[in-house]
């Protein structure tokens, strides 16, 4: 060993030391970028609207800005559309934590412009993507191994969210609950460090002002829990309406011809401009009015109008493909819903009740639990906002009910559902209960027929597979059994294209799905179960048939027998 070698070894950091240092740096940078993003939104708002904007300005600013961001989103930053949380989840679960550097850049630009120009969206989702993006870029620049880059994603996300919302504990929980999907994750320590570092930086820049000024609320009478339960039910229903409408509306936009993609945000911009003429309060993030609702400062009529208009405005802004999140809108709508329910309960209840502001606070949590499906994050977020344990019991009651109702009628969480619309299927957070995965039992021997092929031609094809896959390996359109083909020919439809009679809503699995999932989804013994990619669910990796399952079983049995024979031989020797 020379001195140089010693110095080199000394300079080299051990893996855990490096990761610790990176967690702190990523946390700080994520916090800084979240603060900067928030400031940029404020500045854009101030520049475009000024203190008293005219009606024309209200209409034209969102439209003009959306035209610009539409071009940017369609050409340079296609991954910057929408919230950013689904994309971050996809990066963590499917892309080994790789988020290209242009994604955070694009998100910052289009997000700040869009939200600052009045789009009714939140800054937290984009902040999560910004933080995760920075973490990914740093991880790759430091030349971390891929699995390490991936672990930096929730750390960056937690750091950014902690600064964006000034709630460090909730940010950690959000990273674990929503991004990783596992509250027992081993990354808890790193996310906590990043979150704390981020909040320290944020407070040193913006001061220790809470996001909302909330008076101390508490449960006034035990019977009041019924009021909060009612709020939970209403919150669940509103969450469902929001999720279904968002997905439906976005699905409609996605069906429009691809050439309109560039102009879709402008459609949203025009709609928002018109909405702002009626209710300028729903402009941008809208936390000023959440604050008023939390302080009981809004009339019933105002609560209803703002709640409904915000819901519509958010649907339009998000579904049309602008960059911005649904985190803040869910809190806004929740506060209005809670304030409304609280006013009703306060007036009608035969027992003493808290003020409507307390219900607005719980309503925020209930909607968050129903829409975002992160109940623990919701509870801790409200706790951090109020710094008061007293409200936790009502909050948990309302959250649980809202969460249960929303999950019952919309089983797929909204972020996952949004990814599905983009043809991305995230892995389940359930642990594998079997040693075999779908990739172990699938076969790559597949027969594809073109969708235009006639039934007669398909039946005449050599191979005689029980199931025909319609489309190409890169784009599976549907599946068809030979029995269905024969039946079609028997009905005199031999000349019909297979694409017309193929089953397009076929069951499928992903390569990492456990065997019990495979068996659960296998439609029939003679059927075929396509194994598709997670990041592009129309692309086929292989198929699972009863035959492929049996072949795998035979191979395993043979291997086991060989192993046993080997052992026996050695024992004999």
């Amino acid at each position: 060993m020379t001195h140089t070698d010693d110095a080199a070894q000394w300079l080299r950091l051990k893996d855990h030391q490096l990761f610790l240092a990176l967690s702190i740096i990523v946390g700080i940078l994520a916090g800084l970028v979240a603060v900067l993003f928030s400031l940029a939104i404020d500045r854009v708002d101030a520049v475009f609207f000024g203190p008293t904007p005219s009606a024309w300005r209200m209409v034209l600013v969102p439209l003009a800005v959306s035209l610009v961001t539409g071009v940017l989103l369609a050409t340079l930053f296609p991954d910057a559309r929408g919230s950013g949380v689904p994309q971050t989840k996809a990066a963590f679960h499917l892309h080994q934590g790789v988020i290209p550097a242009r994604v955070p850049i694009g998100k910052f630009l289009t997000g700040a412009l869009g939200i600052g120009a009045g789009h009714s969206m939140g800054r937290e989702g984009p902040s999560v993507q910004l933080g995760a993006g920075i973490a990914s870029v740093i991880g790759r620049w430091i030349q971390l191994p891929p699995e390490r880059i991936s672990t930096l994603i929730p750390i960056g996300a937690a750091g950014a969210l902690a600064a964006a919302f000034n709630t460090p504990i909730a940010a950690v929980l959000f990273a674990l609950e929503e991004i990783i999907g596992d509250l027992n994750a081993s990354l808890l320590g790193s996310t906590v460090i990043a979150s704390v570092a981020s909040v320290v930086v944020e407070r040193s820049i913006l001061g220790n002002e809470p996001l909302f000024r909330v008076p101390p609320y508490h449960l006034v009478h035990p019977a009041e829990l019924f009021g909060y339960a009612a709020l939970g039910v209403v919150g669940g229903i509103v969450s469902l309406i929001f999720c279904k409408a968002l997905l439906g509306f976005r699905g409609w936009f996605k069906q429009l011809p691809p050439r309109t993609l560039m102009f879709q945000p402008a459609i949203g911009g025009l709609a928002i401009g018109l909405v702002l003429l009626v209710a300028p309060e729903v402009k941008g993030v809208g936390y000023e009015y959440v604050d008023q609702a939390l302080n009981g400062g809004l009339l019933v009529r105002t609560l209803i109008v703002l709640g409904v208009v915000k819901l519509v405005a958010t649907l339009v802004s998000y579904a049309s493909g602008n960059a911005g999140g649904i985190f803040a809108p869910s809190l806004f709508i929740g506060a209005m819903t809670g304030g409304l329910v609280g006013t009703v309960v306060t007036r009608l209840a035969p027992f003493p009740t808290a003020e409507p502001g307390a219900y607005a606070l719980v309503g925020m949590g209930a909607l968050f639990a129903g829409i975002i499906r992160a109940p623990m994050t919701s509870v801790f977020m409200i706790f951090e906002i109020t710094q008061d344990y007293q409200i936790l019991v009502p909050l948990m009651v309302a959250n649980l009910l809202s969460f249960t109702i929303a999950r019952r009628y919309q089983p797929l969480p909204v972020y996952d559902a949004l990814l599905r619309q983009d043809d991305v299927h995230l892995p389940s957070t359930l642990r594998r209960s079997s040693a075999w995965a779908a990739r172990d039992v699938m076969t790559r021997e597949m027969v594809f027929v073109d969708a235009e092929t006639s039934v007669d031609e398909a039946l005449a094809m050599p191979g005689g597979a029980a199931v025909v896959l319609v489309g190409t390996p890169e784009r599976l359109l549907g599946v068809l059994t030979r029995r269905r083909l024969a039946q079609a020919r028997g009905d005199g439809r031999g000349a019909v294209a297979v694409g017309e009679i193929a089953d397009r809503s076929f069951a499928h699995v992903h390569a990492d799905h456990a065997l019990d999932v495979v068996l659960e989804r296998m439609p029939a013994p003679e059927a075929v179960l396509p194994v598709v990619r997670r990041d592009r669910a129309s692309a086929v990796l292989g198929v699972i048939t009863l035959e492929s399952l049996m072949r795998r079983q035979e191979r395993t049995t043979a291997a086991t027998a060989e192993g046993a024979a080997g052992h026996a031989g050695r024992d004999g020797a």
Binding site: M1, T2, T4, D5, A7, A8, L11, R12, L13, L18, A21, L22, I25, I28, L29, L32, V33, V35, L36, L39, D42, R43, A46, P51, T52, I138, W141, I142, Q143, V201, S204, I205, L206, G207, E209, R213, P215, E288, D291, Q292, N295, G296, G297
Partner: protein, 409 residues
């Protein structure tokens, strides 16, 4: 890290060369390889971390500068909204004022006066609960701020919580005003006295007034205000002093004249009362009534100095006629046992006959004194049995009786 290798010496002699790169070595060490190793080291994560730290620090300063510039912008916006809010408040557009002031408070939450103005606007718009919430939040940060306590006192006073209001008024009095300390404290105390008087706490009000009475600046309006409050608190003497001081500065002030007249009237100085009240320009109904009553007292009192005996007798006779008529009217209207009234009627009848012209003695001041006593007793008995007197002369006779009691005591 490549393994360290011993330098090889060429067979023909000359400098040893590094087996890795073939370069000549010195003292068995290859400079070229060492440089390469160092290059690798600097490329490693440690140096990159240092670079990251530098970038982080630069980003921090950059973000902080941007935040400061944004904060300045927000402050400007808040000030603009504050002005708009104040303007709306002045022009009576309460909702617009609240909206604008709320924006100003949100834009610059550190500026307490915006939130105070918002609370004021809320209170003006009768949104007392909201105003109270704002003020309590402010008070949490500045519990001794007199302006916050004063506003809270007003809100509580309006909502009828007298104890809380008084507490906040007292906190406001104990606080330190940022400017015009004496004036602000005096104005607050005046407001407190007003509040106490409105809630019928005259003793407490009087004690606060006595504090106010020390070092009062020579301002007619202030004397006028204090005089009125002393009157309401039941101290007409100090009231008269303040009204007199006010009159010394503004001799033709109607309010000062009316106040001085009322104070003198309550002190029983009807001559002075009449003088002031008669000089009041554009007198209101109460002042006119009081003036007429004072004049009637002066015209009816048989014991006023410098009256001829005949005049005294005539006045007493008129008073007795009136008192007897009142007694008869009262006895006829009341259902209660009228023994006492009957006895008085008898005595009054006797007095009346004794005062007939032909029966009048030449000089008997003591008899006039006794006669007036009887008249006053008769008026009081009638008032006690049948309610307040209805005629001016009855009231005047009661006032004369009160005056006699005061003089005797």
């Amino acid at each position: 890290m490549p393994p360290w290798t011993a330098p090889s010496r060429p067979p023909h002699g000359g400098p040893a060369r590094c087996p890795s790169c073939g370069q000549p070595t010195r003292a068995g060490r290859c400079r070229s390889c060492e440089l390469a190793r160092w290059t690798r080291v600097v490329r490693q994560e440690f140096v990159r971390l240092v670079i990251l730290i530098v970038i982080t620090a630069a980003s921090f300063w950059g973000t902080r500068s941007f935040a400061r510039s944004n904060a300045a912008l927000r402050r400007d916006q808040a000030a603009a909204w504050f002005m708009l809010g104040q303007e709306a408040l002045r022009s009576g557009r309460g909702d617009a004022a609240i909206a604008a002031l709320r924006r100003s408070a949100v834009r610059d939450p550190g500026q307490g006066r915006y939130r105070l103005a918002l609370a004021e606007a809320l209170a003006t718009n009768h949104l007392d609960a909201d105003a109270r919430r704002e003020l309590l939040a402010l008070r949490e940060a500045q519990p001794e701020d007199p302006a916050i306590n004063l506003h809270l006192a007003r809100v509580e006073a309006r909502s009828g919580d007298a104890d809380a209001a008084r507490r906040y008024y007292e906190s406001a009095l104990g606080g330190l005003w940022r400017r015009e300390q004496g004036d602000m404290r005096r104005a607050t105390r005046i407001e407190l006295v007003d509040f106490l008087l409105a809630h019928d706490q005259r003793a407490r009000a009087l004690s606060e007034l006595l504090v106010l009475d020390v070092n009062v600046p020579e301002e007619a309006d202030l004397h006028l205000r204090l005089g009125a409050m002393f009157l309401r608190a039941g101290d007409p003497r100090r009231a008269l002093d303040h009204f007199t001081l006010a009159l010394s500065q503004t001799p033709k002030s109607g309010a000062a004249l009316a106040g001085a007249g009322q104070a003198a009237f309550e002190l029983g100085d009807y001559r002075r009362a009449l003088r002031h009240l008669a000089a009041v320009p554009l007198a209101d109904v109460a002042t006119i009534e009081r003036r007429d009553l004072a004049a009637l007292v002066l015209a009816s009192d048989p014991l006023l100095p410098r009256l001829a005996i005949r005049e005294r007798q005539e006045r007493l006779a008129a008073a007795a006629d009136r008192a007897l008529a009142t007694l008869y009217a009262c006895r006829g209207s009341t259902t209660a046992p009228a023994t006492a009234l009957d006895s008085l009627v008898e005595q009054m009848t006797a007095l009346q006959s004794s005062l007939e012209v032909r029966n009048r003695p030449r000089s008997a001041p003591a008899a006039i004194d006794d006669g007036l006593d009887l008249v006053v007793r008769a008026e009081r008995a009638a008032a006690a049995s049948c309610g307040p007197p209805t005629t001016a002369l009855d009231r005047a006779l009661l006032l004369i009786g009160r005056q006699r009691v005061l003089e005797d005591s």
